[in-house]
């Protein structure tokens, strides 16, 4: 048995230590917000936070994640109200929506590390995430919007 701490809750999973974290999260724990896109760290649909860092759960062995702090899209905020989630809604970013769990999880790390990203910073941080519907312009816009919200929030504190 392996203990996974996901969104501040412990789960005991009976997984082969080599099983990618993605499949443990989806099939064993049952949290399906994290998506399978490519299985080879090319598309970013499966991005989760491991101790605060964005990792591709499709190539992260479950043994590496054992006992670490894992956050999935379901745990990013309590009420779908992380600045990025609000901004994603505000800018009508998703179309099919499949890739956006990963997009938002990648963007969340960017925004924490760089509260005021330029277009180039965003391109650099987000070019690991594919959106086949092509919503990139809106992803960029929403990240700027979220950054602005975050700045306002911190200055009003």
């Amino acid at each position: 048995m392996i203990t996974l701490n996901i969104n501040q809750k412990d789960y005991q999973v009976d997984a082969d230590p080599d099983m990618p974290l993605l499949w443990a999260i989806r099939d064993l724990v049952g949290l399906t917000g994290t998506k399978f896109g490519c299985g080879v760290a090319q598309c970013g649909a499966c991005v989760v936070h491991l101790n605060g860092e964005a990792v591709r759960s499709c190539v992260t062995k479950v043994s590496r994640a054992a006992g670490q702090k894992i956050v999935t899209i379901e745990g990013l905020s309590q009420n779908n109200d992380h600045p990025l989630q609000i901004a994603w809604n505000e800018a009508n970013v998703p179309q099919c929506g499949y890739c956006h769990s990963g997009q938002i999880m990648s963007a969340a790390v960017l925004l924490r590390e760089n509260p005021n990203p330029t277009d180039e910073d965003i391109d650099m941080a987000m070019s690991g995430n594919i959106c086949r519907c092509g919503t990139y312009l809106r992803i960029r816009k929403a990240i700027h919007l979220a950054a602005e919200m975050q700045r306002k929030e911190s200055s009003s504190r």
Partner: protein
């Protein structure tokens, strides 16, 4: 009034109806209908459910794959029904016979073909409830009006909610020709922005087919013949069966269009286990000679076929009877490749077979075909009575035409027939990239001739390609032109006195599919680049030349006038910059674009900006239209400049996103979308943004560099 007990299908159960429920919708012939007992209604497609507890549900019959039907279809109904969308429960339908055969999304048709019906249903429902209230008040319906889910009495401002009126409304027949609202009074249509499915997609709650979890479910992964067209001789699963978690190994047939393939499925207690164990299979395939096939040879074959006369598609005037001197003619040959749809959600389905019953959970563009009764729909293909098939359609993680096909479901059902638990089949990304069906390549031979006084008098476009219809549809007649392979080329608004379009069909063995904007995605490239070549020959500005071929009242002229203005076409660009124009008119709709590029000193081409004008008649959610047109540009940029699907030794050479690459965020141009509404007929949104982009880009590169591009994909480097 008796209380109806309705329990035939789960969607009805989940409405929690305890009291009286009134369903309103359309008959198969399109007349408005109502019923209080949906279980016994025949040939009746309900869209609205009003319950006496005040709950209102609007059913969306068009699968939500990103195009926004989860909002747009209910919005049009709600507009006429005078109910605000945020107090309506929206439900996607799942192929239930009660919801009719229109449960499919393709061809940019959800609003284009459904708009008037949705209005009619909403308006009929509004009039029924107004009449019910008028009866209670003993006043004329003219003295009542509906607003925000209530009917008001104009005289005293008394009101009833729709819920309070259900019992009375149930006694009133819906009007046959309901009075539609004046569009200037619209409160929702054209004014909306935020889509109700988006919050579900930012927190992981939206359930796609791949997310379905059914108690007792097991998982499957299939090894298919890597050589397309190969057949299964035999297999040895002994090593596979020793792998942890493996439950069973079975043969699995997959039906895609007119092709049937057999692979080997590994069933295991997790998908990852199935996937690992699949690698241990020892399979003996018979390649049937297809292992000699490669793309280069086939392309050469298509080039040779271009000399054949072909079958006439459209003949206007007579191109053979016009005397054009050789120095006044232009000829060119254009080539486009096969591509894959590559939706982000890999193909998948959960199937549970119990005796003669099938339950299936998946994401598809065609729920009606999962439960329909035609020979090529899932129940009959798989040997089930349609009434014994129950499906659950989920949010679709990208369709683009790929999920018009039932093949992944046929495979899942065949596996499930051999196992006594629900089976979740997931295709890996490699499977999704390599197994097809693919968009067919098209090659185009074009010719144009000018009169001595410089008028374009002849135009020919011959398409050489394998046939989509031959691959995908039963009983295709090879002696006739495949209309889907000459899509749009005879329909442009350009007025040329002598036009001939024709088609040469090439044999092929690879399964083919409609891909977002179908064959317009390749033919527009050839056609609109060649128009540019003609403009160059005529020594005219490419947009002036096009406009000189158009009637002043044509849709294309109206679109070009707007495009000329918004793109600042007449303002010169700076050094090393260029702009190009492209347009396309086809069944799905119409869009024109100007692309601006910069030719950098290192030779690379930067795609700077795109101006798009899309002609719609009506835009239900304008911001969503903009989003889709931006996305169409990105998808078209990928198709124009990223590696195609090619074959060597019979196998697809691309595997995953590292070699089947997609445009990423750092490569996108700015896109400015302008929507024309109010004039002309209602046109589609999903596809029309694609076809004009590739020719506009290639024409811009010509303007910036002088290099003419006649083959897709092309490098952004000159």
């Amino acid at each position: 009034m008796a209380i109806e007990q309705i329990s035939r299908r789960s969607f009805i159960k989940t409405t929690g109806t305890a009291g009286l429920a009134l369903w309103l919708g359309l008959s198969a012939e399109g007349s408005t209908r109502k019923t209080t007992n949906i279980a016994t209604a025949k040939n009746f497609s309900p869209f609205i459910l009003v319950e006496d507890n005040g709950n209102i549900t609007i059913y969306n019959i068009k699968p939500e794959m990103g195009q926004g039907t989860f909002q747009s279809v209910p919005a049009v109904i709600a507009e006429e029904f005078e109910v605000s969308l945020d107090r309506v429960t929206i439900k996607n339908t799942s192929g239930e016979p009660e919801f009719g055969h229109g449960q499919r999304a393709g061809g940019s048709s959800s609003i284009r073909t459904g708009y008037n019906d949705y209005r009619k249903i909403g308006a009929a429902a509004r009039m029924v409830f107004i009449a019910a209230a008028a009866n209670r008040w003993q006043v004329s319906p003219d003295n009542c009006y509906a607003d925000n889910g209530k009917v008001f009495n104009k005289a005293n401002n008394q009101s009833f909610t729709y819920g309070e009126l259900v019992e009375d409304a149930a006694k009133i027949d819906p009007p046959k020709e309901p009075k539609l609202k004046d569009p200037k009074d619209f409160k929702i249509v054209g004014k909306m922005s935020h889509r109700p499915d988006i919050p579900l997609k930012t927190c992981g709650k939206a359930q796609f087919g791949i997310d379905v979890q059914v108690p007792g479910m097991v998982y499957a992964s299939v090894q298919r013949c890597p050589v397309i067209g190969g057949t299964l001789k035999s297999f040895d699963a002994s090593e596979t069966l020793k792998m942890p978690g493996v439950l069973k190994v079975v043969k699995a047939e997959r039906i895609v269009g007119n092709y049937r393939y057999t692979g080997v499925a590994v069933i295991a207690n997790s998908w990852w286990a199935a996937q690992q164990a699949r690698k241990k299979l020892k399979i003996d395939w018979n390649y049937e000679g297809y292992d000699n096939f490669n793309s280069e040879d086939y392309e050469e074959h298509l080039r040779k076929l271009a000399d054949e006369e072909g079958i006439i598609d459209k003949n206007i005037g007579d191109v053979t009877k016009v005397n054009v001197s050789p120095q006044n003619t232009v000829e060119a040959f254009y080539e486009t490749p096969m591509v894959a749809h590559s939706p982000m959600e890999p193909m998948n389905a959960v199937a549970h077979v119990q005796g003669d019953k099938l339950e299936i959970w998946t994401s598809t563009q065609v729920p009606s075909s999962v439960t329909g009764n035609s020979p090529n729909e899932l129940p009959k293909l798989m040997g089930f009575a349609p009434e014994n098939v129950k499906m659950h359609n989920m949010f679709v993680g990208g369709g683009f035409g790929r999920r018009l096909y039932l093949d992944y479901m046929t495979e899942a059902v065949n596996i499930a027939k051999q196992y006594d638990k629900p089976v979740k089949l997931i295709w890996s990304r490699e499977d999704t990239t390599q197994c097809g069906p693919f968009r067919p390549m098209t090659f185009s031979k074009l010719g144009g001739g000018f009169s001595d006084d410089g008028k374009l008098v002849t135009f020919t476009h011959k398409v050489i390609s394998p046939s989509l219809s031959e691959s995908a549809r039963p009983n295709f007649d090879k002696t006739k032109v495949d209309g889907s392979m000459v899509e749009g080329i005879g329909e442009q608004d350009y007025q040329i006195p002598n036009i001939k379009t024709s088609y040469v069909r090439a044999d092929y063995h690879v399964p083919l599919a409609a891909w977002r904007s179908v064959t317009s995605s390749t033919l527009a490239f050839a056609h609109e680049c060649f128009i540019d070549e003609l403009a160059h020959k005529a020594g005219k500005d490419p947009l002036d030349f096009r406009m000189s071929l158009l009637a002043s009242d044509s849709d294309t002229m109206r679109i070009f006038k707007k495009l000329r203005e918004v793109s600042n076409w007449d303002q010169p660009l700076g050094e090393r910059r260029g702009r190009g124009v492209g347009q396309w008119k086809f069944f799905a709709g119409q869009c024109a674009q100007v692309v601006e590029v910069t030719h950098k000193p290192d030779g690379t081409i930067k795609v700077d900006r795109v101006y798009a004008v899309i002609d719609l008649g009506v835009a239900v959610n304008p911001d969503n239209v903009a989003n889709h047109t931006e996305g169409a540009v990105v998808m078209a940029l990928t198709a124009a400049t990223k590696p195609a699907i090619t074959m060597g030794e019979g196998k697809v050479m691309q595997h995953n996103f590292y070699d089947n690459t997609m445009v990423r965020i750092n490569e996108v141009p700015q896109v400015e979308v302008h929507i024309l509404t109010g004039e002309g007929k209602i046109k589609g949104v999903g596809e029309p943004g694609l076809p004009p982009f590739a020719p506009a880009l290639a024409n811009a590169i010509f303007a910036a560099t002088g290099k003419r591009i006649r083959k897709m994909p092309f490098e952004l480097k000159v």
